[in-house]
Subunit: 221 residues, 2 copies
């Protein structure tokens, strides 16, 4: 059984990689990073560093660019300085059907090899803004992948009911290498500190009473 | 509501295109052809001709090559001259998770635009050899796409319980432009006449009591 971990190089997926390794210490793990036209492709370098740190195979798959998102469209700005508690509806940073596209891409390479599990780091904080981060989607995708593959692959998202702070608390307890990760949607170094994902990350560290090792250009008051 | 038809340029998907047009005459239809490293990319030209004939938008998406199939791996031959009645298990021409990959790719472009339906021409004769052509998979993929997209897209496969001969009979009654289609897995012109898909096509024409307008280099006795 091979474990394929969708690795962006951010906080959630890096914690997931360590979680999977801890739960399946004897089985091969492969990290897969997807390129889909995202502006913050800087995460690819973080993913590479994280995979190297954990000693797992790492591969990158280039999908056709996905349009229709602030994360990918040149004429749409990444939102900055928004109040995370005031957000409603589907997020401007939702990327159309991204998680299904990722799962399908990994299912294709995994099913050519043998039995396997596809792991995603989606979590509860993303429920409202991202339809493809909800438990119902994960369950449906698992069913579609199981039925549509020769080796009846599975899809798992162990953090789907956790908050980002829950993920971070687990990770801090287990010494996850957060100093190697990068999260900013702007794709800048230092991280902008103002986009939704920088804010969510900073808030999770604050809730966990820890200091984020990442450098930030600014932080929203 | 936009209708996205997965169009290979073969018999099944060309019939589907006409079927969708007949059932949704007032709504926009877009044909999408997927490149995934198939040896028979000659079908792309057929798909283009079919789409032009029907006056629908046509686009091609290039996915990362999918390995693990006789249709894509350079070191595996396309089976020829097999007895279609004797086949068992997953087909050597099964392409790992191909239909889920196709559906996800189209879901990404469709969900960026608005409500839509993704149509596939899978049918009953493919049940045994292709896990991603079965009704259970189609239902699960529909659920995953609906739950994982902003516009709650749908997946439909109206021929899923039909035989290839059923599809052909419907198409002959409705003057589908079969002279524009091409099916051969070898990707040759004239078609080889010996691969599984050439044989299945010739058999469907024989069962329907009609003559295939396609030229063949040989036919299996």
């Amino acid at each position: 059984m091979t474990h394929f971990v969708l690795l962006s190089g951010g906080l959630d997926s890096t914690t997931l990689l360590q979680w999977v390794r801890g739960h399946h210490p004897e089985e091969p793990i492969e990290a897969v990073t997807l390129l889909y036209g995202q502006k913050h492709a800087v995460e690819l370098e973080a993913a590479w560093r994280v995979a190297r740190h954990y000693g797992v195979t790492h591969q990158t798959l280039s999908l056709p660019p996905i349009s229709g998102s602030a994360l990918t469209d040149a004429d749409r700005d990444i939102p900055r300085g928004r109040d995370l508690d005031e957000l409603e509806g589907v997020a401007p940073t939702y990327v159309p059907a991204r998680n299904l596209f990722f799962i399908a891409a990994v299912a294709s390479l995994a099913d050519a090899r043998g039995p396997g599990v596809i792991w995603l780091g989606v979590h509860h904080d993303d429920y409202s803004g991202y339809p493809d981060c909800r438990p119902g989607f994960i369950a449906a995708a698992d069913q579609a992948v199981t039925m549509g593959t020769q080796h009846q692959l599975r899809v798992r998202a162990p953090f789907v009911d956790w908050s980002k702070a829950d993920i971070l608390r687990w990770g801090l307890e287990h010494q996850v290498a957060y100093e190697l990760t990068h999260s900013c949607y702007q794709g800048t170094r230092p991280a902008c500190g103002e986009c939704d994902t920088c804010q969510a990350r900073l808030r999770a560290f604050a809730e966990a009473g820890a200091t984020d090792p990442l450098s930030y250009a600014a932080t929203v008051e």
